[in-house]
């Protein structure tokens, strides 16, 4: 699969041109991205601190995850769509951008971390719903580090991509 060719194809689409050329469109898309990302990161930190046993210790992990995750997912979907739109506008440039690549890598690892947590660790939550297990603590701690990295590289993209 030739990603370079796909990026060039994206760059040449009408959609990409519109986002590059219509005044303020990129900024509006980016604004949705910013709101969505702080929602994702903020809600994930709530859960991570709970998993690490550092906050909300009186609250059940199951209850917190059940109530908060819908907001996380909604935020993530908006962030992914807005991110994809921004990417499309200058696909080749973003694809070749170092912090962008690092951000995508960390997102993938964060996704695997979440999947592993849900499929494995969370299975036994009844046993550690109040005093979290070591693997739950690890998942929470790793998540915090990854998301700090994602935000860091994300902001760095803005300083290294040429303006439209």
């Amino acid at each position: 699969m030739n990603i370079g060719a796909i990026c060039r194809w994206l760059d040449d689409t009408q959609l990409a041109a519109a986002i590059r050329e219509w005044n303020g469109l990129f900024a509006i898309i980016e604004t949705f991205h910013v709101i969505a990302l702080v929602t994702v990161v903020g809600s994930i930190f709530l859960i991570d601190l709970r998993l690490m046993g550092l906050a909300s210790r009186k609250h059940s992990v199951r209850d917190m995850i059940g109530e908060i995750l819908p907001y996380t997912w909604t935020g993530f979907v908006v962030a992914a769509i807005s991110g994809a739109l921004m990417f499309t506008s200058k696909a080749t440039q973003y694809y070749e951008n170092f912090p962008f690549r690092m951000k995508m890598l960390l997102l993938a690892i964060a996704g695997i971390n979440m999947l592993a947590f849900h499929l494995l660790t969370f299975r036994s939550v009844a046993k550690w719903d109040h005093e979290t297990s070591m693997s739950a603590k690890f998942a929470g701690g790793l998540s915090v580090i990854l998301w700090i990295g994602i935000v860091t590289f994300g902001r760095w993209i803005g300083f290294t991509i040429l303006p439209i």
Partner: protein, 164 residues
Amino acid sequence: MLHNLVEWLLSTRLSQTIQEVEWIVPTLQTIHILFIAVVLSSVSMIILRVLGLVGRSWTIYETAERFLPWIWTALIALVITGALLLTGEPKRSLLNPVFQLKMALLAAMIFITAAFQRSIYGNKGAWDQPALPKPAARLIGGVSLLIWVCIIIAGRWIAYVSVP
């Protein structure tokens, strides 16, 4: 008067260092974004509880007690990183109408948060009788959440609106 402040800030060693050392502004912005996530999630947990949408197994008092400290701590971190960012680029911030709007909205929200805190700590049970707070309280909660989001949007749009 604002212009005098801008000129004075530009003349300081701190301002010059922030402008010259490349990684300082991106790092400050990243820390700023992470604490925005903390404020938004903390504020949301309280407001969504007031609206009766999350955490109904806990009283509003307990929810406020749990999240208000995080709000104030994060706001302090935001003011510190914000002040440093401002010191590095005083024209871009102090003389920018979008920045001025952000500060006005922020002042309003700090006032409302402090008023809420005084009200809820002053009368432990009041906010939890009856089961759902008065419509006025819920309306102020909803509007507050909207204003917090507007503050975040204004923060991003400082970069897009030029100083007159």
